[in-house]
Symmetry: D2
Subunit: 307 residues, 4 copies
């Protein structure tokens, strides 16, 4: 499998991890899910991300899930694996395993103990050294969750000193000014920037130089179609599509219930057998479900209107 590089674009779906109602890893649903995401037009997969319930898996389960996805994909699109860890020994172990299995690269979020600019850069230097300079990696900039704040200058320093850094998963919030600042920098290598946060600012981010999205949403076709519309120089079409999905995207982006909402819709769409999260995880109430159903109905109607 080709390795990830700075030209990566389109939609790298942050994949859910399917479980049965009793919390067992569901590999049959995994196959269906791979087919579904591919059919909707994603250009890559990201596994074991924060929304992939990665910390709830044992190492053996993580490896089994990654292998199943890689086997089903059979090289059709690249796979990035989240390997963030409080320690470098477990990071090396998981990275080595998944790269041997055929992953295209890994994603690393910084631990919350990092405070100053220098500490952040130094952390990524050690991480890059740990996984090996031949393993491409993605910097995940997600301060709402990691509590680590990277200025544009810090990201630029990482890109400069570490050639194996090929992509930024941009999900600072607010992050529009940061994205513009990074794209305005003339003295750094152009890396791929894919955006996160449930794509809630995808139109603005595409206009500011993003190459696509690396996030999850129960309707990945929204992200695929918006990115394609920008590629086709049709921003009004992109905005029409985006606005039609926005009420549900906003609803799904709630931390906590968000993943349960996404899995509910994926189950409803026939992708996964069960919408269950592994414990501990929230359960949807009848009110939640009524709201989702209502939004899906309105979304269908609106999509028909815009054609």
């Amino acid at each position: 499998m080709a390795k990830l590089d700075e030209t990566a674009a389109g939609v790298y779906i942050i994949s859910v991890t399917p479980f049965t109602d009793s919390g067992v890893l569901d590999l049959d649903s995994t196959d269906r899910m791979v087919d579904f995401y591919l059919e909707k037009g994603v250009t890559g997969f990201t596994l074991l991300g924060m929304m992939g319930e990665a910390p709830k898996l044992t190492l053996a389960e993580s490896r089994s899930f990654v292998q199943r996805v890689l086997k089903r994909l059979n090289g059709r699109v690249p796979v990035v694996v989240g390997v963030s860890s409080p320690g470098f020994a477990p990071m090396r172990e998981l990275t080595s395993a998944v790269m041997d299995d055929g992953a295209a690269g890994v994603m690393i979020a910084p631990p919350g103990t990092l405070k100053t600019d220098d500490q952040i850069v130094s952390y990524y230097e050690t991480a890059a050294d740990t996984i090996g300079s031949d393993t491409p990696f993605v910097v995940q900039d997600f301060p709402q969750s990691t509590n680590v704040h990277m200025s544009p200058g810090v990201i630029a320093r990482i890109i400069k000193v570490l050639p194996s850094c090929v992509m930024l998963k941009h999900e600072d919030w607010p992050g529009l000014a940061k994205l513009s600042a990074l794209r305005a920098m003339k003295d750094i290598r152009r890396v791929s920037i894919l955006v996160g946060n449930g794509a809630l600012f995808l139109p603005e981010e595409m206009e500011r130089g993003a190459d696509g999205a690396m996030t999850g949403f129960a309707y990945p076709e929204m992200m695929v179609d918006v990115v394609r519309a920008y590629g086709a120089k049709n921003p009004e079409r992109a905005r029409d599509l985006f606005d039609a999905y926005l009420p549900l995207a906003r609803y799904e982006q709630q931390p906590g219930p968000g993943l349960a909402i996404r899995k509910y819709v994926l189950q409803k769409r026939g992708v996964i057998a069960s919408g269950s999260l592994r414990k501990p995880g929230p359960k949807l109430s009848p009110l939640d479900i009524a709201e989702i159903e209502r939004m899906i109905a309105r979304q269908s109607k609106r999509l028909q209107e815009i054609g």
Copy 2:
């Protein structure tokens, strides 16, 4: 002026504080702003909230601004004043002053040092004692900003032990389950619940028992009309309106630039003379402004379509 009580409903606008381009408090714009908000149908005002740049004002400026609003309003709708403070002596001083001036009640957010349930309840007991049992107050539940997390049970304890607590400003995020849990409690006095977070979940919150909104948005008529549509048992109309404004509401809800966006639109609408924030505050870029203008144009078009 009548005091705030548990029946408060509708839209209590979180008012901006107008400054001139050079950062001087702009009392002429204040008058126009009061007229504008009233004309759009708000049922109350909230001054010196977090989005009112309160910490940037001197005590004298705070008092001057509150007095100007009260004078212009002349009792037509009630005014709530934010009096959160790291110390009780300043809280008492400001509360006493604004209640004498004619405010209907005050709002208190908890300091970030509170950690356990007992500490939170104890804090509000001391606060209520400080401001006097005849001063109605609003509990602001905004953990994203305060870093204080109140369970429904803690809020219920505050309501039970403190009769002067008449309202909850609900802006936990996610907060829908919390709102439902509070409204399901049968053993507590029913207080007013007005929602925050830029009204980004207003339809769902109205369905779950909110009495309206206490937040800001450059188009307060959206909130007023959505709340009225629910009052008129017309939820589909409410959702149509909400969805039409959602792209801009989402954009204005960005922490940091959000207030600059709101003030830009208010200036554009002729409400305030300058969209400037007092230092330190972000400035909008040409890209930001182009995005706002584009969203406003699309919003107008969509509002015409839905009639």
Copy 3:
């Protein structure tokens, strides 16, 4: 091996994990270290704690280290193993393995995502269910590191609902009032309370009802002798000993360099072959080392004076 229960007392040493200079797990030093700690009079061992560099170990290394310690101990004193994890599946896996190997119980610190009293209690309920009701566990109350704040009432609730909770590792800071509050509660089962924070408040904590210490210090004999002196109703002797060691104990308690200081002294005392921390970890400067040597010299002199 007998399981941990509420009668546990004395000094459960938070064991370091020895590495060679190149960062390889050093099992020969592990044997020497076990002998050293036993010789100094500890009554139990705690492995894979925060000061045991646990997150830097792979699962295989963790298991190998635990097995080596258990083998060398051969049942002479009980072993508690830290199994804190962001997910319950890895917690179950590690717990099951070490209990099979002969551990006496496990220790669980709460994840930083817990905010309210109810969330904390609910987390421990799920954790206790995950590891099985026949596995005794220790609650680690260490808010400076976990950012989770447990009131005495919350700890009491955990003790009440979970019979397998047999010990509190008390290291809130300040924590003296909390310890007194817990011991004053008449309606809860009396669990063992061992104190942490490098034993910096050991005399006061013994007076307030602690059963001993569960922490680390390069001179474990200080903790053992202080606890024994209290057992012998000789508090002045306990304070004399404590005060003699306090300058170094204070120095070793610095977060960050603290563990490097402890390992330096253990190497100097011939316990472990290398004072190295596995990456990433601080290195001592010549100034640091000069300070340590000076404090050790003064400490020896002072110990001779008090006899």
Copy 4:
């Protein structure tokens, strides 16, 4: 009064603020306290610091207290006033007032919203501009309380760009390596560095280049004598003194009860009429008081032994 400059040294006492038992500002005790601190040999005063209960005072009380201290001092030693504020307008107002009254400079801690290196430097630039380039200021580096982390490089940048920055209040913890790093920098102006954290690392900090202490302790003579002993090239004497006071200093350094302990001892020593903190503040228990008395007795005995 001469203004603060880079040559400041010795002990700048972080003054308590005396209240009566009923919480009223106690200006008579203020006079006695000024005399006491002077008599013990302090070389400066710092008012309205975090341990001075500053946030609990109204603006009028703050000014009244500062004026009383300045009047009693009558220019004998310089006074620094804490002016940290969430907003620049209140900071300007207070600074202007106290400098007019005769303060020698002000101290500014950063607000917790600052995250990146650039944000921190930019904040101090605006602050320095706000208070005026002729007002000398102290940077307070106290991440345990502010949650703002300044690397040595950031502090160096502030010193370079802002000539009115004349002192660092150093109280990062651990902070020894940071102090050494700052003193090793050859390309920055040498500013005064006074240390905080209750002087718990004063000997090590003096050896690494501190000019003294700016902190509180109920026995300011300890700090004065330790600093003098270093000035007299007698580090062993300094350590003997320090060690004698260390058990109580450690006890007084507990966040929360610490200030109540300090005030209790100051009351016992006849300095202030009441040891009360203004609400909200902890009260000492009989156990606390017994521990303090015991430590004071042992401290006296030890001081006699060392002569």
